[in-house]
């Protein structure tokens, strides 16, 4: 179903690479909340996230984000300042501290520098702000990545396998954090089971098709996203 106020609207959107379909033409809409996208490695999941984040163009069909047609350059320009993306195994400049990393992101997001301190505090990174990124444990590193991704207060955030290297004890705390990143959050994982239970909707990619899972536990969904 596509609501008029959908955050993401894809109409007959398909992605091809190397002569084969990564995602066959499909139509879907996402309004708000936390949406899970599951698929094994090399299933095209990361390519779909990159397409939704406007880093690549769909091969066919139309794509609207936050009310803008992003298949053209003007729509992309209009919407990019409202998006956030944290790729799988995200990179950072060698030798930077957490503060420098977030400030670097803030510059490219055209965000004033005082927002850096605010986001560091929000993600409980104030004490780790002067530590080098290379020295951080996985959960703090993810927090720093999330802070850099969301320093400009995006309306739509894409997180590609954010919890892949996070140990179980820290997962629940971070899941709470992920749900509050933006009004709409798209998060991926290799297995749908990793997303079920805390995502409002879960999609799976199988054989280049996007299928919505209907077995979504609403344990976490009682907490509204974007809070």
């Amino acid at each position: 179903m596509i609501a008029d106020f959908s955050t993401i609207v894809a109409r007959d959107m398909g992605i091809r690479r190397g002569g084969r379909w990564i995602l066959r033409p499909t139509t879907f809409g996402i309004t708000s909340g936390v949406v899970g996208l599951a698929g094994p490695p090399c299933s095209g999941r990361s390519a779909l996230v990159a397409t939704l984040a406007t880093l690549r163009r769909p091969s066919v069909g139309a794509l609207e984000l936050l009310g803008h047609d992003v298949t053209g350059p003007s729509g992309q320009r209009a919407v990019r300042s409202r998006l956030g993306l944290l790729p799988d195994r995200f990179g950072w400049a060698a030798g930077v501290t957490v503060r420098e990393f977030v400030a670097y992101a803030a510059y490219f997001k055209a965000t004033p520098s005082h927002a850096v301190d605010a986001i560091l505090e929000r993600f409980e990174l104030t004490d780790a702000a002067e530590l080098e990124m290379d020295m951080l444990p996985a959960d703090l590193r993810l927090r720093a990545g999330l802070a850099a991704t969301c320093v400009h207060g995006p309306d739509l955030v894409f997180l590609d396998e954010p919890l892949s290297s996070i140990a179980e004890p820290e997962r629940d705390e971070l899941i709470g954090l992920l749900r509050g990143l933006a009004p709409a959050v798209v998060v991926t994982a290799p297995d749908p089971a990793e997303l079920t239970g805390w995502c409002d909707r879960v999609f799976s990619i199988a054989r280049a098709r996007l299928i919505e899972s209907l077995e979504v536990s609403r344990t976490w969904s009682r907490v509204p996203a974007g809070v």
Binding site: G72, R80, Y107, T149
Partner: protein, 415 residues
């Protein structure tokens, strides 16, 4: 520090300037030093040495740029999804890489300039040559960076270096050796780089660099207004390529100069680029002139001539051809004068082999070399016993036989 300054400082770490600049400068300096003519301080040759350094610096700079682009790819999620122009990140990278490459090039240029100045330079500094080299180096850098962005793989770094290196040494046609960096190894004195060709080469590099950068900006931004600089860059490249193709001739042109001379005891005149050689040439050639005095081969003046100019020695003037001052140049000059004393037609005749051997004995004395082994031991022994004055006197009477390689054994037994 401003926000942009902080970003530049972080981005600069990827270019590793404190490592890259000295490493590139060392590479370029070695290449330039090897390309400079030994002992010659000639501005046109200095420009050729800079081009030689660009042929080495360029591929290294392209590899560095491809490596930086490869590492930049990991930050695409921050810089690509930017509220600012998506071109900002690549432009900052290109600016930093350009600064690194030009810093290394400036260091190389300083070394070449100082070396030329210290050796009493000749000719005039070719600023256009310096500019053409710098622009060509920037084009190499842009090519490496764009290749690294297009295919962010480690293999791209090697490929960028290999392809650009290949362009420096192998070209598809003769005229393409005039495209930057031009395939000139050495500029010998008497010739100079053509200024208009240097200007064309600088313009060609500028056009290619501008085309590559603006095309990449268009891919990133899809701004229609970029069509104007793209079309202009294509026009510049097309016009300069056609013009360079139309040249179809050597990049060198004869260069006007005034001889540098030393007047006493012998007049020795050389191209000003080799004027440091005057005292040693004077010292080396004076004994030869003394030994030949009173003979038809005597000379009082030695003149340095271009490699393609061989006038016949006459009226006491002999000619030498020196392209550089590598060790042994004084002896090479002596040998050239001595060879010019001989009649090539008769000395090359196999029937005169015996006479050639006696001539070699006399030539060895003239050149202060060890005498050759002769089968006529008597002649060799007698000649070795004679005092210097007696040998000179003997040469005055037997010069024509020496000249025509018709000396005989009994000529040495004449008192």
């Amino acid at each position: 520090m401003s926000d942009l300054g902080r970003v530049l400082r972080i981005d600069a770490r990827r270019t590793a300037p404190f490592l890259a600049v000295p490493a590139l400068a060392l590479l370029g300096a070695v290449a330039a030093w090897r390309a400079l003519l030994p002992g010659v301080a000639y501005w046109d040759d200095a420009v050729a040495a800079l081009f030689a350094s660009v042929r080495v610096l360029g591929p290294a700079s392209a590899a560095l740029a491809a490596w930086v682009a490869l590492r930049e790819h990991r930050l695409g999620y921050l810089r690509g999804l930017s509220a600012r122009s998506p071109a900002l990140g690549p432009l900052l990278d290109l600016m930093l890489l350009g600064v690194v490459a030009l810093s290394a090039y400036t260091a190389v240029a300083m070394i070449v300039v100082v070396k030329t100045l210290l050796h009493v330079e000749a000719g005039h500094p070719q600023v256009l040559g310096l500019l053409a080299g710098a622009l060509t180096l920037l084009v190499y850098t842009v090519i490496g960076y764009l290749a690294g962005r297009a295919v962010p793989r480690v293999a791209t770094v090697l490929a960028a270096s290999a392809v650009t290196c290949l362009w420096g040494v192998v070209r598809p046609g003769t005229w393409t050796y005039l495209l930057p960096p031009p395939g000139v190894e050495h500029i010998h004195p008497f010739a100079g780089l053509r200024t208009e060709l240097l200007a064309g080469q600088a313009l060609w590099s500028f056009g290619l660099g501008a085309l590559l950068v603006t095309c990449h900006l268009w891919v990133l931004t899809r701004r229609a207004r970029l069509a104007v600089p793209i079309v202009a860059a294509v026009a510049v490249i097309a016009v300069t390529t056609l013009w360079i193709h139309g040249q179809q001739r050597t990049p060198l042109a004869p260069r006007a100069f005034e001889y540098s001379c030393r007047q006493w005891p012998l007049t020795v005149c050389v191209h000003p680029a080799l004027r440091t050689a005057l005292p040693s040439l004077e010292a080396a050639l004076t004994p030869l002139a003394t030994r030949l005095s009173g003979t038809p081969g005597s000379f009082t003046k030695v003149e340095h001539r271009p490699d393609n100019d061989f006038p016949r020695p006459a009226n006491g003037v002999v000619y030498i051809h020196l392209s550089d001052l590598s060790p042994g140049y004084e002896h090479r000059a002596e040998q050239e004068i001595q060879i010019s004393l001989l009649d090539a037609r008769t000395c090359g005749n196999p029937a005169r082999a015996a006479g050639v051997r006696y001539t070699a004995l006399v030539s060895a004395w003239l050149l202060d070399e060890a005498p050759p082994r002769l089968t006529d031991l008597t002649a060799a022994r007698d000649f070795a016993r004679w005092a210097e004055v007696r040998r000179r006197h003997w040469l005055r009477t037997h010069y024509l036989r020496y000249h025509s390689c018709t000396l005989r054994g009994r000529d040495f037994r004449v008192v």
